[in-house]
Symmetry: C2
Subunit: 248 residues, 2 copies
Amino acid sequence: MSVPHRYAQLADILIEDIGSGRYPVGDRLPTEHELCRQYELSRYTVRAALRRLIDLGVVSRRQGSGTRVVARYPVPRYVLSLSSLDDIVQHAREARLSVRKTSIVSADAKLARRLGCKTGKRWLRIEGLRSVEGQSEPISYTEIFVNSRYRGVRGLIDNASQAISAVIQEKYDEPIVAVNQEITAIAVSGRIAETLRLAPGAPALSIVRRYHDEAGEIVILSLSIHPADRFVYAMNITKQGSSFAATI
Amino acid sequence: MSVPHRYAQLADILIEDIGSGRYPVGDRLPTEHELCRQYELSRYTVRAALRRLIDLGVVSRRQGSGTRVVARYPVPRYVLSLSSLDDIVQHAREARLSVRKTSIVSADAKLARRLGCKTGKRWLRIEGLRSVEGQSEPISYTEIFVNSRYRGVRGLIDNASQAISAVIQEKYDEPIVAVNQEITAIAVSGRIAETLRLAPGAPALSIVRRYHDEAGEIVILSLSIHPADRFVYAMNITKQGSSFAATI
DNA sequence: AAGTGGTCTAGACCACTAA
DNA sequence: TAGTGGTCTAGACCACTTC
């Protein structure tokens, strides 16, 4: 048996107390000073215990204000970790976007709703096909709308091997802090079916991604349509602190 | 201007040194003692700096062994954080699985390949439909294969409001450490189309999830087929350390 | 056995928050 | 202005790795 560390013991006690309702969500935990006194521990040890509670997402702390209980149970955390935006757009590393058309568009009512902006707002619109080398059929039809604030990338994307998001991240000092992604199945028809050389009504994966900056504004919106048999969206999610991540 | 903290300054210096190649990936960083001496800092401050490098994924440390450089650049981390397995199976909280059939099956060649096991291995197979209250059509046809080691859940799942993964997590002391998920578009036909009351060839989202234990064995495999217009798979990914997570 | 990082103490000063 | 958490020092002992 390994020796239980004091900070780990204190953390366990506090987690137990929070779970039992002694410290309800929204209430404050005792101050560091008070915990030092109660459990006869140094401040260092108390802080180490509280750091564990923070890591578990059970409390939040603010200088001058105290330690607040924010969750009753330290839920096991499952994490999909991505090292770059390219990992979200999984294929970006191997697949190349061949641009078919670039234009400045003004948002009509329908587009404005999709992009979360006012009608009339101007966007850089890019339309193209994504392909991987050695495969004759494209893996997706893609439409990308870039916030006109970042229209400076226009000259950089033709024949760029990088994803547009990566170009923007580089040129504008990493503005993207969040990505929202919606995946649905659709039946493809009309012009897009023709472009992808699909029979009308063929099943496809539709992926809409919204890249947000810190203000919550959309930096990029991309819409990809992947024919059913040409694309699989795969992801691995591992439990926080598990060593499984490397092996899966 | 806020005062830069010493540990943050040291962390920046070390990140810079690693990026410049002074400490190549695979090499060791100077010891805590050495860094204390070089920069005239207390060990506490040096350790705070090194903790930052760990959080950034640039170094890893081992007691008795030292601090190893594991990455040249602190890549921006994007994280999809999930508080429970239920968040992976997004609908599990609102949707209920109505079990149509439960049986013990022996894996034939095709099933064995999908499950990553030997042919002949026995699994608990559950077939059902997922529905949400107040909606007449089911949102998915679902097949679930449970490793026979966990067959004890069989009696617990009929009419259970909990997801099967949650039941196993509870009964068997949280064996699941990783989940692999594959999303594709398919055209539905045959028996499944009938069951979902879909026209043959209708587009649908197919989601295959494999829940693994620490040994890498599959605990549960689930296959869900969601008719196109009844289901959207949505996820939010935020940059590590961003405050955006709460607002999106 | 020597050296590493992990834990822990007892102090100190400071920045921030709330009364 | 009192009290909170954040940073920092100078020590100490211990568990672990490497030789």
